[in-house]
């Protein structure tokens, strides 16, 4: 068996016993990158020397009896939104092409402390704006399950790299579904933690009140272990919760017996939902019922406003967060501008892609004098209502079940010219970000065309442990997460 068939925790055990070395694990990853990434195109940058050096250090620690933890020596990948000292960080944008980060972000520091070699930086929609990775300024990433289709986005490179076994796990970010939707479309596990659970320091900001870092892995125990590594209070992030994370592995196998799981009417009644997705997700809910959970119909009445709300709040914050890319201090600066205004205009015109420009303009408009009350302020009020929907639901249920995405992976190019159709792909994932809740996507089946489908589990704030436990209970009953995409070396 190839080492890359192992999960993170399985590999970690073998590294601990000396049965495998971290260098072997990194080499196995690099070998798959060499064989398959020409087709998948998940990586923007592969750090061979760096990863091998980190692996050697991990192997030395083991020999010295100083293993840093269960993931020491387990190779991972990073969405290219995480600042990594000395390595390029592009956020998928031409405006940051050639930018080398001057510091490690907090989660990167935590990964380094945990001993996980970083194989490389993974492709994404520019500034995390998109649901297909087609908005990358460099190239689209392809879904390992079907290279004609998208792995989803914006963390599409991370999802594809994990699905294609080119890394054992990865970190993504989720602002409106950017971890969960690509996880669902690529057949892996992805968790968006509660807002404030994981530090955002050193993560290129898209929409500050919605962005959250999370793990993308092959199974739920890995997801719990990787979350454990990064769920640490960070004094450098004022929105990071000053609380200690529980032991996410401790209760993971506890099952769902006696839990009340809500089925929100509004999610299952969406007209555009793919029938195969609906059938698969409904089957998953029945499986959980069989395991002893009680299914309870619930209503989240403001769900229909989530998309409009999101597309006011997120672009408004983005328009401000992206103002710093002005050509003055770093990144791209357009040549030949005769004055300051022209330099700003040309730099941003050349450096930003179409979708980024669209959202910067949407956000600028929503915040403008005379429109603020009607758009941004109204959206914030609706956001409160959406949050309240969940608070009400969680009075009667322990978690909510829903599809992650209304469709399986779509063809590359299919939606790229229709932004609204692309936005609709996030309709099931957006409310969770607006409400700041934890949301997990676990593989729950495949379409007839062998494309993965995801089940979404939404929990109470700070209740990741339960969300993971529900995901794990379902995962144990099948082998969807064990299947490997049918990649053939070119």
């Amino acid at each position: 068996m190839e080492p890359t068939e192992l999960s993170m925790l399985e590999l970690g055990k073998k590294l601990g016993s000396g049965e495998l070395s971290s260098v072997e694990a990194v080499r196995a990853c690099l070998s798959r990158v060499d064989r398959f990434d020409g087709q998948v195109k998940a990586f923007l940058m592969v750090d061979r020397e760096g990863a091998l050096a980190q692996a050697e250090a991990a192997d030395r620690r083991r020999k010295d009896g100083r293993r840093a933890g269960p993931l020491d020596g387990v190779p991972v990948g990073l969405k290219d939104l995480f600042l990594t000292e000395g390595l390029p960080t592009t956020a998928g944008s031409a405006i940051l092409e050639g930018f080398v980060a001057p510091y490690d972000g907090t989660v990167v520091k935590l990964l380094r402390a945990a001993g996980t070699p970083i194989v490389g930086k993974l492709n994404m929609d520019e500034f995390a704006m998109g649901s297909s990775t087609e908005n990358s300024a460099f190239f689209p990433t392809r879904n390992p399950w079907n290279l004609e289709t998208s792995p989803g986005g914006s963390s599409g490179g991370s999802a594809a790299a994990v699905a294609a076994r080119m890394v054992f796990g990865a970190l993504g970010t989720d602002t409106g579904g950017s971890i969960r939707q690509p996880a669902a479309l690529s057949g892996i596990v992805g968790l968006k933690p509660t807002y404030g659970r994981v530090s955002r320091f050193g993560v290129v900001a898209f929409a500050s009140s919605l962005d959250q870092v999370g793990p993308m892995t092959r199974d739920v125990p890995d997801c719990a272990a990787l979350l454990q590594t990064i769920a640490v209070h960070d004094p450098c992030d004022s929105t990071s919760a000053p609380m200690k994370a529980p032991d996410y592995l401790a209760e993971l196998e506890g099952g769902v017996r006696g839990m009340k799981l809500g089925l929100p009417r509004e999610y299952f009644e969406l007209p555009g939902m793919d029938p195969e997705v609906r059938a698969s997700v409904e089957a998953a809910t029945r499986a959980l019922e069989k395991l002893g959970a009680e299914l309870v119909p619930v209503s989240l009445p403001h769900t229909k406003y989530a998309l409009a709300t999101y597309y006011l709040v997120a672009p408004a914050e983005a328009s401000s967060n992206l103002a710093r890319y002005d050509g003055v201090r770093y990144g791209l600066r357009a040549e030949g501008a005769g004055n300051l205004l022209a330099m700003y205009g040309r730099t941003r015109d050349q450096g930003f892609g179409l979708e980024v420009k669209r959202r910067v303009m949407l956000g600028t408009y929503a915040l403008s004098a005379g429109y603020y009350d009607a758009y941004y302020l109204k959206a914030q009020k609706v956001r409160t209502l959406i949050k309240q929907d969940f608070t009400d639901a969680f009075r009667t249920v322990d978690a909510v079940l829903a599809p992650t995405s209304p469709t399986p992976a779509f063809r590359i190019g299919e939606k790229v010219s229709d932004p609204l159709a692309m936005y609709l792909n996030d309709v099931f994932t957006l409310p969770c970000n607006l409400a700041g809740l934890p949301g997990l996507s676990v593989p729950c089946g495949f379409t007839k065309a062998s494309l993965p489908i995801g089940l979404q589990v939404l929990g109470r704030p700070w209740d990741e442990a339960r969300v993971l436990r529900i995901g794990r209970a379902f995962e144990r009953e099948h082998d969807f997460h064990r299947r490997t995409p049918p990649l053939r070396a070119a």
Binding site: P102, E317, S319, D326, V328, L367, S368
Partner: protein, 480 residues
């Protein structure tokens, strides 16, 4: 019609840098005068991925200012982003406070020609300073220095309660004195740590509606404040008189030409697109916090002035000078606490010798070498007749330079006047015995001779005789 027919209406916005050691949202030093960009980090350079973390001392300083100006301290205030593009603003937005500032509704009392006047304070909020663009660097390039980026500021906004340029200057001086007293600002207009914008309008006397206001920027000295406002009042009045209308705009004061000129019109005004800063939670002031700060507030300049006049019986002129420097006033009180003589006498020494020497030697109160008891004992030696006034000045100068005890210095210099009546009488006896002719003359009515005899006694005593004692002894012996 003329300027005299119009009522100017003025409101001031003051930006004051807070004297914290580090910046408002990162750990970089706020020290002035470092090489360009020496005091910067990823956060204040606006690198991707950085987040602000509030420096709590900044809040404490702002609450001090708020309470000193009688403001309500809002238990919850909101950080907001003010969005605009400029090379000295690395994030493309300034973190400030907008519709829910930290402090609101205070007042500052100033002295005007018509007596004291209360200028209401609309609000005080916290924000970060921007960096600085340097345009005359040569090569046609502009440079950016971000040392100042992220230095904490309070913005203090008055209501339009000011009615003349001299009142405006008075308000600024009073405000600066308070901030310096609170230890939160160095009051330096030239280095830009205390900056002022003015909103100026004029209306015909007796009118009930304010005129169109114009914002004046770049006023960086007390002298310029008056000049800029007076120029602007004149300009607006002239405009109205000639049938024109004052336009809503921002004007820049040109100190060289002594005039204001248009910087941007209403149409060119920025839309700052304020919205709540998502990277910072609301600023919550814990229960008891304001009370604690309040207890620690020092006596403010105006109250101290009244007390110096009331308690010490000092003339207002003296009190104003002493109170103008908190450390000087404190020193005065420390000396006066041990000194048994009249406060006015001490005040004369402060306003005379002390300030003169401090100026000559460019020494601040904090760097003075002598102690308050030393100063007091010097004055007591004068009062007791041990030192003449002139000798005391010599002793003071030495004490000022070295911190040595005044008695020691006076003794070493041989300046102590002989107080021993026995010694004086012996000398008097000797002089009378040696000058029988002069004694005769005196007794015959030629009283002028006394001066000669005093001189002889002082000479015999090598100048150390107390003149009063010598006089009295001579008169007694001569039978007066």
């Amino acid at each position: 019609m003329s300027v005299a027919d119009f009522q100017p209406v003025i409101g001031l916005e003051v930006h004051a840098q807070l004297l914290t050691r580090s910046k408002i949202f990162c750990g970089c030093s706020t020290e002035f005068g470092a090489p360009p960009n020496a005091h910067t980090c990823a956060v204040c350079l606006g690198m991707p991925g950085v987040l602000p973390v509030l420096n709590e001392t900044v809040v404490e300083f702002a609450v001090r200012v708020g309470r000193a100006l009688g403001c309500r301290i809002n238990p919850v205030s909101i950080w907001a982003r003010k969005n605009y593009f400029y090379p000295d603003l690395p994030k493309g937005y300034q973190i400030s406070q907008y519709d829910q500032p930290l402090c609101e509704h205070g007042a500052l009392e100033i002295d005007t020609d018509d007596g004291p006047r209360r200028v209401r304070i609309l609000r005080i909020h916290l924000e970060e300073d921007a960096g600085k663009n340097v345009h005359d660097a040569g090569g046609g390039e502009s440079l950016v220095d971000l040392n100042r980026s992220g230095v904490p500021l309070v913005e203090i906004v008055s209501e339009p309660d000011i009615r003349s340029s001299s009142e405006a200057a008075e308000y600024l001086k009073a405000l600066r004195d308070i901030l310096v007293y609170l230890g939160v600002n160095d009051g330096n207009l030239e280095e830009g740590s205390f900056r002022c914008d003015a909103n100026v309008s004029v209306m015909r006397k007796g009118a009930s509606q304010y005129g169109q206001r114009v914002e004046l920027k770049n006023i960086n000295s007390f002298r310029f404040v008056q000049k800029a406002i007076d120029y602007e009042i004149g300009r607006q009045v002239e405009l109205i008189e000639s049938g024109g209308r004052v336009a809503q705009e921002t004007r820049l004061f040109d100190a060289v030409r002594g005039e204001t000129r248009s910087m941007r019109s209403k149409e060119e005004a920025h839309d700052y697109r304020y919205f709540p800063e998502p990277d910072l939670p609301p600023l919550r002031i814990p229960a008891g916090y304001v009370e604690r700060i309040e207890r620690e507030l020092p006596e403010l300049p105006r109250a101290k002035l009244h007390r110096f006049v009331g308690t010490y019986g000092l003339p207002a002129y003296d009190a104003k000078i002493l109170v103008g420097d908190r450390a000087l006033a404190d020193l005065f009180e420390k000396v006066q606490a041990v000194y048994k003589g009249p406060a006015k006498k001490l005040s004369n020494w402060f306003l005379g010798e002390l300030l003169r020497l401090m100026k000559e030697e460019a020494r601040e109160v904090g760097a003075l070498r002598f102690t308050p008891p030393q100063f007091a004992s010097l004055l007591e030696m004068v009062d007791a007749g041990e030192l003449s006034n002139n000798a005391a000045k010599d002793v003071f100068a030495e004490m000022f330079r070295t911190g040595r005890s005044p008695r020691e210095v006076a003794q070493e210099k041989g300046l102590i006047q002989v107080q021993d009546t026995g010694a004086v009488e012996a000398a008097v006896d000797a002089v009378l015995a040696a000058n029988p002719g002069e004694v005769e003359k005196y007794r015959a009515g030629k009283k002028q001779v006394l001066g000669f005899l005093v001189g002889q006694v002082m000479k015999a005593m090598k100048g150390k005789g107390n003149p009063a004692l010598v006089n009295a002894a001579l008169r007694a012996k001569l039978g007066d």
